[in-house]
Symmetry: D2
Subunit: 286 residues, 4 copies
Amino acid sequence: MRYILGCSLSYNILSDTTFIFNLEVAKLKSVEILTESLVLTPNLKRDLYTTPDHQNRYLAVNVPTGQFALEYNAEVDLTVHRADPATINETPIGQLPLDILPFLLPSRFVSSDRLTPFALAEFGALPKGYGRVNQICNWIHEHIAYQPGSSDGETTAHESLLKRAGVCRDFAHLGAAFCRALGIPARFVSCYAHGLVPSDFHAVFEAYLDGRWWLFDATRQADLDGLVRIGVGRDAAEIAFSTPFGNMQPVNQQVRIQRADGQGSPMPRTVDAISTEIPAPQSGAA
Amino acid sequence: MRYILGCSLSYNILSDTTFIFNLEVAKLKSVEILTESLVLTPNLKRDLYTTPDHQNRYLAVNVPTGQFALEYNAEVDLTVHRADPATINETPIGQLPLDILPFLLPSRFVSSDRLTPFALAEFGALPKGYGRVNQICNWIHEHIAYQPGSSDGETTAHESLLKRAGVCRDFAHLGAAFCRALGIPARFVSCYAHGLVPSDFHAVFEAYLDGRWWLFDATRQADLDGLVRIGVGRDAAEIAFSTPFGNMQPVNQQVRIQRADGQGSPMPRTVDAISTEIPAPQSGAA
Amino acid sequence: MRYILGCSLSYNILSDTTFIFNLEVAKLKSVEILTESLVLTPNLKRDLYTTPDHQNRYLAVNVPTGQFALEYNAEVDLTVHRADPATINETPIGQLPLDILPFLLPSRFVSSDRLTPFALAEFGALPKGYGRVNQICNWIHEHIAYQPGSSDGETTAHESLLKRAGVCRDFAHLGAAFCRALGIPARFVSCYAHGLVPSDFHAVFEAYLDGRWWLFDATRQADLDGLVRIGVGRDAAEIAFSTPFGNMQPVNQQVRIQRADGQGSPMPRTVDAISTEIPAPQSGAA
Amino acid sequence: MRYILGCSLSYNILSDTTFIFNLEVAKLKSVEILTESLVLTPNLKRDLYTTPDHQNRYLAVNVPTGQFALEYNAEVDLTVHRADPATINETPIGQLPLDILPFLLPSRFVSSDRLTPFALAEFGALPKGYGRVNQICNWIHEHIAYQPGSSDGETTAHESLLKRAGVCRDFAHLGAAFCRALGIPARFVSCYAHGLVPSDFHAVFEAYLDGRWWLFDATRQADLDGLVRIGVGRDAAEIAFSTPFGNMQPVNQQVRIQRADGQGSPMPRTVDAISTEIPAPQSGAA
């Protein structure tokens, strides 16, 4: 499926600020980038870096005092891998590729070590496989209120559980935390999300099952087969769309994605399991 | 300098357990591994993985119920890079290599976001450079009691600060947290440590200054130029010497390092700045 | 019902220590103290204080270095007030006696403010009254494992919820926290508990409903009509059976209660609502 | 000294709300209330309660949907007890009146148990007495930034220490926490504070030394001998000026105090130790 997507950001820079952005579409086999443009105003020097493990594309810019704007536009063709959820099993820890280890461990916002008793008590006895992770998403959807403003940049998964509220970032952290606590590798994914209303940067998580990373969205707010990946990491700390070092104020932020054929979401949401790893990966860290 | 080092671990396995070990010496240009042996009893199948970014060597073993022992021995030749601390400046964030970004961000145990006000208040006004990180180590050494048993595997840097106590792991987390809070990249390092009494796995941290990673040990318990690296990571979660998944009991743990020439530490501790990156690195993530 | 009860405590005093004990039976209308003795060895000077609001009996003793033992014995006649749970409603906040206010507020271990979203989501829609508090106890009994050693003296109610484990102290804190979060006054009660195996000091909570304090025990381990109150307070901080200031080691602790007629618990546990306030109180703080 | 003081509060009531106010001047021997008026608009039924232990005056009002306003005015004559700080010693725990015990224990926001290592390390070796508590205030004043908006109603003393910022409430909580951690009874005091700019409800703490409660203000923002007490309690939870149960919005809040003779604060701040207990108390809980 083809998508036209992008974002427009502007800032009021109060003192020299270094920005590290992660908002360009990741270069994956499943995503053909047909056209792409990134405009900085003023047109400052760019420092680019693509991580060798996950193809996250970081952009660093040193911005002087004044106004600063960034506009990114792309047209992409997204191919997803689909499967019947009932056929997807968990991979025993002893058979996991070792490069996946970081996604079993607790991280700053995915406090899986503190949530282990909770995860075991709620989900420990469920049949293993894709269905168990889906149950985790159902549980989160049922128990956590989607509530803008209910969390901030320091909110961890276990705090969201106590607050019973959060935004997409928190839903993804909590889903990933429950998975890791159960021995299922899980990672945080930022993306452009078709079907998300209102449009914004979105966060979901992926769980590693049967040799492949599968997408899950506990918020149930976007089309699983319409998520165009920006970055993947242990949690939100690693792949914030904008990490500023300096004194500045965000002025405007607009995020957009639409089907290139102009259609909306005429069909009901998919019930397939969706992965952006095509074809079958040789290793878990693609 | 040549060292003979190693460890002996044994476990009582109560149910099938997958171990992920990280205890072999990292393969760095600064460390020539002259001889090396790793014996498992029973001699189970080994799954090996060396991370491409930091040369951490992970070993996974699936162990059945019963007794299990591991013995590692190596003789290595360590070459360190030395410099005069007074000549080492901080690298402005806008000039940092982008592959170093993860070491500026908060992680599970290095809760630098929660320690930012504290770090700014205590160290924000100090002259920038190696000396500032050294002052951080002095502060920690003065304010935090080295107290075995005072922390556990869930203890974070900000909790150690409140408890005013910790072990090497906590000293390294707190040092790294203060650095990151000030915009200085910092990472956690596990090692065999000459001069440490009693001998054990040791943890220190490295700060990235003037284009290179420099070693710091806030515990002041080992020789900075006698640290043979095992692993490097965001924090202790990533490079635990043993991460078991299953039901088991540690029975015995013995860690050793001595100079190959049989000498002790006849000379006073070095006052040089020490790095294990030789020669000058092209990038920060060596 | 008549009970013979008491406790024997001994300590190894390493430096001069001031103890504040709260282990004598509270002097309530519902409890006739037939005989009572308190022996200190050595026989040190006693400082006694009974709180005017709740009749908690505190005993302070300054103990020099050496051995110290305390033995308390009493025979009491306990009369309880019984009612049909179905007839007991909640008291609207606007009609509560004002001296009950402290028991609506968060306290050190009853972190009701942090548990408000959780309480509202789980129990907010239940029919109000005794039954709702009973449902809270059922929920705790079902979701929290009774696990000696799983908590310590700093564990708060919201931490017990995350850990899914605790002891009687934690069950009472969590029950009280959910109640306060819902606007139901609740307080912490320490007691000698008939039916508790193994015998020990016990902790339960009371909720204020329909003008009276009613007993609840989320652990389901003791007879509600066999609880002889020692103290009542906001939480465990206020009525620890022993609060030592100094350097000492507990050596032995034995707690006992049996029916004066020598019978055990032949009858099934009561299903009545039980209060130790007799007759109907004039005010909430009896 | 005579003061004219009062407050005006107004609310937009969105659903039936029960308010519990604690804003009338406490009836102490040291405070002669010359005139006093409390006007509610509309003039709803009042439920009044004065705590027998501390003379806190609570006012409960059930307010229907609509507008609600409260205006309180009083003229009072405040007499304080003064002493030379150098003459005031600490009272050994073994000699404390037992009714003071609650003020040695941790409470919801005065997390003295978690701050014990910090307090011992920073203040444990200082000479005992008024001077030590004064040093605690100096330390707080130096290390914690007074920063409106930096805390909220759930902020505890140990969190303020990490954030290095707070408002009067947090300064008082932290001061009280350090004291209790050192075995010095301390309590939270709300008051009308002469000299505070801008005028608002103020919070300070009292420490129990040499048989009497002494005022301390770590914010250094008001005149110690110009504090007219409203309430005293374990912490802010107990004596909030307004505790609403229901759905409402504060609209306006104005607090005022001036000398009845129209003078400002012509003289420098007092360096005396100040207590509002006159004459010498018979017991600690006056």
